[in-house]
């Protein structure tokens, strides 16, 4: 290996590492606030990329139907509660958010042919379609059992994951997609060539991380989420609804997932089941951070990215084995740091 190749692999490592970092942050966030280990995070990556590709071919992505269906379920569940409480305003809000919004979106998509819109508008449409699925999933799958043990929540996550992979195959077929890059720019620094999409990935990831930092550090909602992560009952007593916290967290997680998918779709081919492995690598990173520390998780993500790109050069067949075995020494280190027997929930 010469320097040239090392730099190339390093670039790859940073690009994928940036995506893993985003996913790791989302996973840590979701776990901290809701105790849900969010395995379907990866499906949001795949759904994002595949929905964007569908829009670019001029079709309404099938995720729109999923949004309509989930919205209808939520509308029935929450609408019934609102009716029982005779809360007219709440009913209107529930119907508008869960039925009105998806229908409006569907109308928009059929009114304007999405294939001819600028890329950034297509991305915005993708976000508008897929991201609301996050809080809806929370409402339907997790909220009824929000107090259950981590293990039960995890099994629900896995169930959702297999369900969404199945839906992904149904919606998008077995073919993979690769979307055109956001920009065709290429930059040369001496002998180093950097393409525009890599810069997009790294910049957007960095921006998103800074935005998340500001959100958690400066805004009242961010602080409330942090408070919920530390003490759920305490936050509830201070008037911050855990249901709202859950929905907000899942909104952020879905946003991060879909953005990641949109960003890497031009770099790598995305299939309906690609999300699982991508999401799991985010997990390896999050576990390196002990599912608790954001900076450690981000550092872990870069490590996973580098490990993946360099091992694909040296031992490409064993790439996945190497990445997933990395988790073992990390777990070992964490297990050696624990002494007393703890009660599990």
């Amino acid at each position: 290996m010469d320097l040239q190749i090392a730099i190339l692999l390093g670039q790859d490592g940073i690009t994928t590492g940036a995506i893993y970092a985003l996913l790791a942050l989302a996973l840590v966030l979701v776990f901290a606030v809701t105790r849900v280990i969010f395995i379907p995070q990866g499906e949001f990556v795949a759904f994002g990329a595949l929905s964007l590709a569908a829009l670019q071919t001029g079709n309404a992505p099938a995720t729109l139907w999923l949004l309509l269906a989930c919205g209808a379920c939520v509308a029935v569940l929450d609408g019934r509660t609102a009716l029982a409480r005779n809360d007219g305003r709440k009913l209107v809000a529930v119907l508008a958010a869960n039925l009105g919004y998806p229908l409006l979106l569907a109308a928009l998509l059929f009114a304007f042919s999405p294939a001819n819109l600028p890329v950034l508008v297509q991305v915005a449409l993708t976000l508008a379609i897929v991201v609301p699925l996050g809080p809806m999933l929370y409402r339907l799958a997790y909220q009824p059992i929000a107090e259950a043990s981590v293990l039960i929540l995890l099994i629900v996550s896995v169930a959702l994951h297999v369900m969404m992979v199945g839906l992904g195959l149904l919606f998008f077929g077995a073919e993979g997609v690769r979307t055109p890059p956001f920009s065709d720019a290429r930059f040369e620094f001496g002998s180093i060539l950097i393409n525009g999409q890599q810069i997009w990935v790294v910049l957007v990831s960095a921006l998103l991380i800074v935005a998340l930092y500001l959100f958690f550090d400066r805004t009242i909602y961010g602080k409330a989420l942090r408070a919920t992560a530390i003490n759920r009952n305490g936050a509830r007593l201070m008037g911050f609804s855990p249901v709202f916290a859950g929905k907000l967290t899942f909104l952020l997680a879905a946003l991060i997932g879909v953005l990641s998918g949109v960003l890497i779709a031009p770099v790598t081919t995305i299939y309906y089941d690609t999300g699982f492995l991508i999401g799991l690598k985010g997990f390896v990173a999050a576990i390196i951070g002990g599912l608790a520390s954001y900076p450690l998780a981000a550092a872990g993500a870069l490590l996973v990215g580098f490990l993946e790109s360099f091992s694909s050069f040296w031992a490409s067949a064993y790439k996945e084995v190497i990445v997933f075995t990395l988790i073992i020494p990390v777990l070992l280190w964490q297990s050696l740091n624990r002494h007393h027997v703890d009660e599990e929930e």
Binding site: L154, A159, L169, F283, I327, R338, E343
Partner: protein
């Protein structure tokens, strides 16, 4: 939704018949089992080959699900990686029985499926021990994540190693033969599969009903208690992890010889997830739930794979959509799966555990001589950050006396109790039990030395009977392990353990509740149960954390009498208590704490007159 369209296999048992007086006759478990065995035996004689094949798969899957019942349902450890262990069993036998150029040191194992089974189980046990020692100590959710990770790793290894045939797999695996009889037809291997499965199910059931089994059943929600009773919970976790892996490997071995061909696909993480679904759908805590769950999922999968592509107009594994939805609904609505619902259809007489009162008494510990200092705390300080919960505390307890540790709320009594019982480690100072420092030792080691305790917040296993809860206390007085338990070679010792537990229950006055669920007792009775459990360990020091809380006057008097009797036998007792009437009439000496420090020590009547104590309890209202 939990009533699926599938007809679980054990359903067609004879319906309950009416006896003359019009009441339902109950079947004994033995009758039900016999009916099930007959059913299993005749099925291949009457059903067409297609159904036999289906039943073969159900048997294979149920064996893996059975391991998960033990691991997840009973032990509370979740694994998504069982399919990889199935793969280990399958690939080991595939390599050993087809390879023509085995290395010299392995050549002895080549060619014979039965030797390959032994080697496969051995390799699986080693891998499980390795993986388990890396991940089992971690808190709940890291294990399942770890299992996903190594499940994927092993899957990719199967697919990339040339010796394993890569993604195309390995063919030409010979059929199993028994005494020259080749099992190369579906209905022939059927019997082998179901014999394996039934042996696994029965040994698992035996294991759960034993000393080791009680330790395993305590893993879910009772680990702190079990450790305090001397159970090595890490060991118990490892045991069920290895057993589950071995069940999976045996299933893989059978699978390889049934298919005569292996490739990596059936050993991926998604199949591992399906195995977990089977265990949860069937009823994750029930041995027979594994068979029901495997049957339900397998039949449903078969049916959905026929129906869904036609409905949806596309081909693919769409059944997972239904499975996922079903799982979410089951976890929302019926977390115990379909077994409990099914079990209600066939009235089976509950089999009460029999107590053999004639069983020889267990050997007893040599008690220290009266007046010997048993427990001594020297200058114990415990800080939590800036908070000093215990400051320079010293106290001692002698054999044959009752010492009370009292103090207002927040005085640091519970923290002190934790230091004395080894649950927590002092920041400085030391705690000596029978002359040995116990700081930093596991609570099960301390239990071994003869200290036993109760908990301020009652810790018992609510679904287990009073008898079995108390028997956990006697854990260290038995030594029969997993294999004798699985094959019922432990019955003599088990009878002695249960007789001892029964004796202690009678002694504390709970004899009429012997077979009730512990969770059904009133709080006061549960506290008494904890004392019986502690006594079952034959301690020389009893630590009681607020034993009188929640007791009625009569019960308090009975408890007081019991403690006096124990004292007369030479037992040392330390109790933390709020109830002054109870304490003052009972104990020999009192230590009073306030703000983490000892403010008085002495005879009850002296302490009651001590101005510092009066100030702490009555004065100083701010």
């Amino acid at each position: 939704m939990r009533q699926t369209d599938s007809r679980p296999l054990v359903a067609p048992l004879p319906a309950p018949s009416m006896t003359l007086d019009g009441r339902f006759r109950c079947f004994t478990p033995r009758q039900v089992l016999a009916a099930f065995l007959v059913l299993i035996a005749v099925v291949p004689l009457v059903l067409p080959e297609f159904y036999v094949t289906l039943l073969n798969y159900i048997g294979l899957y149920a064996m893996v699900a059975l391991g998960l019942v033990l691991l997840t349902g009973v032990g509370g450890l979740t694994s998504f990686g069982q399919a990889a262990f199935v793969g280990l069993g399958a690939y080991t036998t595939a390599v050993l029985t087809t390879s023509t150029d085995l290395p010299g040191w392995l050549a002895w194992a080549g060619g014979s499926p039965w030797l390959a089974l032994g080697v496969g189980l051995l390799i699986t046990a080693l891998v499980a021990l390795l993986v388990g020692s890396l991940t089992l100590r971690l808190s709940g959710h890291f294990l399942p994540l770890g299992t996903i990770a190594w499940g994927i790793s092993l899957y990719f290894l199967f697919g990339t190693m040339d010796i394993l045939g890569g993604h195309t797999g390995m063919s030409g695996i010979p059929p199993i033969s028994i005494f020259g009889w080749q099992l190369d037809e579906g209905h022939e291997i059927y019997y082998l599969i179901w014999i394996f499965l039934l042996a696994a199910a029965l040994t698992t059931q035996n294991l759960l009903d034993s000393r080791e089994g009680r330790a395993i059943r305590a893993l879910k929600g009772g680990m702190v208690m079990a450790e305090a009773m001397g159970v090595n919970t890490s060991r118990s976790r490892m045991i069920i992890f290895v057993i589950a892996a071995l069940h999976a490997a045996a299933s893989g071995w059978l699978y390889a010889h049934m298919q005569r061909f292996v490739n990596p696909t059936p050993f991926g993480v998604h199949i591992g997830i399906e195995y977990l679904f089977m265990a949860v759908v069937g009823g994750a805590g029930q041995v027979w739930g594994a068979i029901v769950g495997a049957g339900a999922i397998t039949i449903m999968k078969q049916w959905l794979q026929d129906v869904l592509p036609a409905v949806l107009g596309a081909t693919g594994n769409f059944e997972v959509i239904v499975f996922g939805l079903l799982m979410v609904l089951i976890l929302h609505r019926a977390r115990d799966g379909i077994w409990p619902w099914l079990a209600r259809l066939v009235p089976v007489r509950g089999n009460q555990i029999e107590i053999d009162h004639a069983a020889a008494a267990l050997p007893r510990r040599e008690m220290p001589t009266r007046g010997e200092v048993i427990l001594e705390a020297r200058n114990v300080t415990r800080r939590f950050g800036g908070l000093v919960a215990n400051n320079d505390m010293s106290l001692h307890v002698e054999a044959g006396e009752i010492l009370a540790l009292i103090g207002p709320n927040g005085a640091g009594k519970s923290t002190m109790f934790n230091q004395l019982s080894g649950v927590d480690t002092p920041t400085s100072g030391e705690v000596l039990f029978r002359g040995k420092s116990i700081a930093g030792h596991e609570s099960r080691e301390i239990a071994h030395l003869g200290m036993s305790r109760t908990f301020q917040h009652v810790k018992l296993l609510p679904k287990m009977s009073v008898l079995e809860n108390v028997a956990i206390g006697a854990h260290l007085r038995g030594n029969r392990g997993v294999i004798p338990s699985a094959w019922r070679l432990d019955r003599a010792e088990e009878a002695r353990l249960l007789a001892e537990a029964a004796r202690q229950i009678e002694r504390v006055g709970l004899g009429s509740h012997m077979h009730d669920e512990a969770g059904s007792l009133a709080l006061g009775q549960q506290r008494i149960l904890e004392i019986a459990r502690a006594l079952a360990s034959d301690p020389c020091l009893l630590l009681l954390d607020e034993p009188a809380a929640g007791l009625r006057l009569k019960e308090k008097q009975t408890l007081g009498d019991l403690l006096r009797k124990l004292r007369a036998e030479g037992m040392a007792i330390l109790l933390v208590e709020h109830d002054m009437d109870f304490v003052m009439g009972l104990v020999d000496r009192v230590v009073v704490m306030e703000f983490g420090q000892k403010i008085a020590e002495g005879l009850p009547e002296d302490v009651q007159k001590n101005p510092a104590v009066l100030e702490a309890y009555l004065g100083g209202v701010e």
